[in-house]
């Protein structure tokens, strides 16, 4: 498969310019995704909240549905005066919004949008995402402190208390999936959930429980109601945002809305199959790196066309289309997750700080820990998945029934059907990364 960098090397330019252009394009794409998600969610928030409150929301700005409301908001905020309180620590006050937004943006670096469509494929991507997402609060706390206002400081302190409450269960939830998958690579975790709906991690009973804990902690991570204590408009004016105005205020909010997308995208990859749809349509169409069926036709047609333009490198159009389909799946899942967040925000009252700490530390942590123990037992009992386990149990009976024809072909069909219906079983038999490492390790020690 030809990457963008390789396509650019076809241009008559020195390599460092090509690398710079490729890097700039990729960074700009990610930035566009982050900012577009923010803009769309702001519009969605207005509409959804209006519907929940039995109103219509914006209807006139830019046509029927108020499409242009977010740009109108943006222009209004750009024209506002950029105020800095006299009592503020000026440098830190200016710095805080950028830290908050940049930390959220860094999450997008490791977030795969489709199989291999990721800016930075790290083999510790899940850990990286957690580490970077945790830095967002630094901006919030710094902003609250440096404003030199007691409302802001209260907001910052609440944020601090909230952070140490939700970060632990959030990390534990990710650990559950990492144990299940045997890898921290988000691309690999997504790939393991290929195929039908029931290959998604959420259909594991322990991961199912973990998913709801993850939802709670992710909601706390985005500082949205019912966890919007640092902001708490009805108690603290606007919490850590009290003194901010104009575009610095926008930065905080873009960070918050981008974090909504990032967190629900991470949830989609960990629990909801990532870029894999409920039905393996792209596999049926043959849209993969080794195309077949319709995919082979598309591939051939695409390469015939590029050859006429003058590019003779083989471009894998089928895989590209499959990834495009996968990206649609991923974006739909992430947007649905964000919509649920909006729905929760406008239906739930705000928790008190002690209730937040009780929820996170007294309920979420023990539940997540129990799920970790459960997943360990699960992967010990069903090392290659339930379906494979049941098939293995039933295999003697099947063989007995098919005893009349020669034995070898009967066996073959049995294993074949297992492999086709359950990719995860196949992976498990080959050993997930973690398991095979352990086996490998004992062998080596004994030698």
């Amino acid at each position: 498969m030809v990457s963008m960098t390789e396509l650019l090397t076809l241009l008559p330019l020195p390599s460092w310019i090509v690398l710079t252009i490729a890097g700039a394009i990729q960074a700009a794409l990610l930035l566009v995704v982050a900012l577009c998600s923010a803009v769309i969610f702001i519009w969605l928030e207005r509409k959804v909240s209006a519907r929940i409150q039995d109103r219509l929301g914006p209807t006139r700005v830019g046509g029927r549905f108020g499409w242009l409301q977010p740009p109108a908001d943006g222009i209004k905020l750009l024209l506002k005066e950029d105020l800095i309180p006299a009592a503020a620590d000026r440098a830190l006050y200016r710095l805080a919004p950028y830290i908050s937004f940049c930390a959220t943006f860094c999450v997008f670096l490791a977030l795969p949008f489709a199989a291999g469509w990721v800016a930075l494929q790290l083999n510790v991507a899940a850990f990286f995402v957690l580490a970077v997402a945790g830095l967002e609060v630094f901006g919030v706390i710094l902003g609250g402190y440096s404003s030199g206002s007691k409302w802001s400081l209260y907001g910052a302190m609440r944020e601090a208390a909230q952070v140490i409450s939700y970060e632990i269960p959030l990390a534990l939830c990710v650990v559950v999936v990492v144990l299940l998958a045997g890898t921290m690579d988000l691309v690999e975790i997504g790939r393991q959930q290929e195929g039908w709906l029931w290959n998604w991690n959420i259909f594991n009973p322990f991961a199912f429980v973990t998913f709801w804990v993850y939802c709670t902690c992710a909601l706390a991570n985005t500082n949205r109601a019912p966890f919007d204590l640092p902001e708490a408009e009805s108690e603290l004016v606007a919490g850590f945002l009290t003194e901010y105005s104009g575009f610095r205020w926008v930065y905080f909010f873009m960070g918050e809305y981008a974090a909504m997308f990032a967190v629900s995208g991470l949830g989609a990859i960990l629990f909801l199959g990532g870029w894999n749809g409920p039905v393996p349509v792209s596999q049926w169409l043959g849209l993969s790196v080794d195309p077949h069926g319709l995919g082979a036709w598309i591939d051939a047609a695409g390469n015939w066309a590029t050859a006429h333009i003058g590019i003779h490198e083989h471009v894998c159009f089928a895989a590209w289309l499959g990834n495009l389909l996968g990206m649609c799946n991923f974006v739909i899942k992430a947007v649905l997750g964000a919509t649920c967040m909006i729905w929760v925000r406008w239906t739930m009252p705000r928790l008190r700080i002690d209730q937040v700490m009780t929820t996170c530390l007294k309920y979420c942590v023990p539940i997540a820990s129990a799920m970790i123990a459960g997943v360990l037992v699960w992967s010990f009992v069903f090392p290659s998945g339930v379906v494979a386990y049941v098939t293995a149990q039933l295999r003697p009976a099947i063989e007995h029934r098919e005893a009349a024809p020669p034995k070898a072909p009967a066996k073959k069909t049995a294993t074949k059907s297992t492999a086709r219906t359950i990719p995860r079983g196949e992976l498990g038999e080959g050993g997930g990364a973690g398991r095979s490492l352990l086996v490998y390790g004992t062998e080596e020690v004994e030698r």
Partner: protein
């Protein structure tokens, strides 16, 4: 030194940020700004780790050091400061002692750094060779270049020393899992103990002991 490329540019950028921020920690007098500079310096070190392909170490650096400094900032500084924007005054004697201590440490570190640089040339290639052999043998240890060897080393499998037949060198293969667990249990005990000691106790303080003033902190 090799040719100048993006790696080199980013290395110098990150190194400059790390060193500059470290100096700024010492120079600035506002304690919150010091913590911010420290966060910047540590984050630049994490960037250096990412640049060298040690993603696991980079993420750990972000999680433990940058996140840890943040917690330190919150609970050590903000909650204990008497007033807003506390500044620290440093005397000349403190400067002298600090410069001597830091200079001694710098000397030791520089010596160690350049000493190791001379000795271990060629060793990474050997390690890469062994991991390539592993890749050839169809194992996925070599693919996960960053954290799998670390984890395996912890439980006692050194993939860089598999070829060693010498028992002295294989001696390091006993693993660090037990010491690691002992240390973590110790830390948990310390944390529980600290929480117990810091727990607010209900004391009945007679009013005349405090000269008639309202006893504060009795309620919680």
């Amino acid at each position: 030194m090799g040719p100048i490329n993006w790696q080199t540019c980013f290395f110098f950028l990150m190194a400059a940020i790390a060193c500059g921020a470290a100096i700024a920690v010492v120079i600035s007098s506002n304690i919150v700004r010091m913590a911010c500079w420290l966060v910047l310096s540590l984050a630049a070190v994490a960037g250096l780790f990412f640049l060298t392909g040690a993603e696991f170490l980079g993420a750990v650096q972000l999680m433990v050091y940058v996140g840890g400094t943040m917690v330190l900032l919150i609970f050590g500084v903000m909650l204990t400061a008497r007033g807003p924007f506390v500044s620290m005054k440093i005397g000349a004697a403190q400067w002298v002692v600090a410069v001597i201590a830091a200079g001694a440490l710098l000397t030791v570190l520089l010596q160690a750094a350049f000493g190791t640089f001379g000795q271990t040339q060629g060793k990474p290639i050997a390690a890469a060779g062994s991991s390539r052999e592993l890749a050839a043998s169809g194992n996925d240890v070599a693919d996960a270049a960053s954290y799998s060897p670390l984890g395996l080393g912890l439980i006692g499998v050194r993939i860089d020393r598999l070829a060693e037949r010498d028992h002295v060198l294989r001696g390091g293969m006993s693993g660090y899992l037990l010491p690691f667990e002992i240390i973590s249990v110790h830390l948990v005990v310390v944390l529980v103990g600290a929480a117990y000691l810091a727990r607010a106790r209900r004391r009945m303080v007679p009013r005349h002991w405090r000269g008639g003033e309202q006893p504060s902190g009795v309620e919680d």
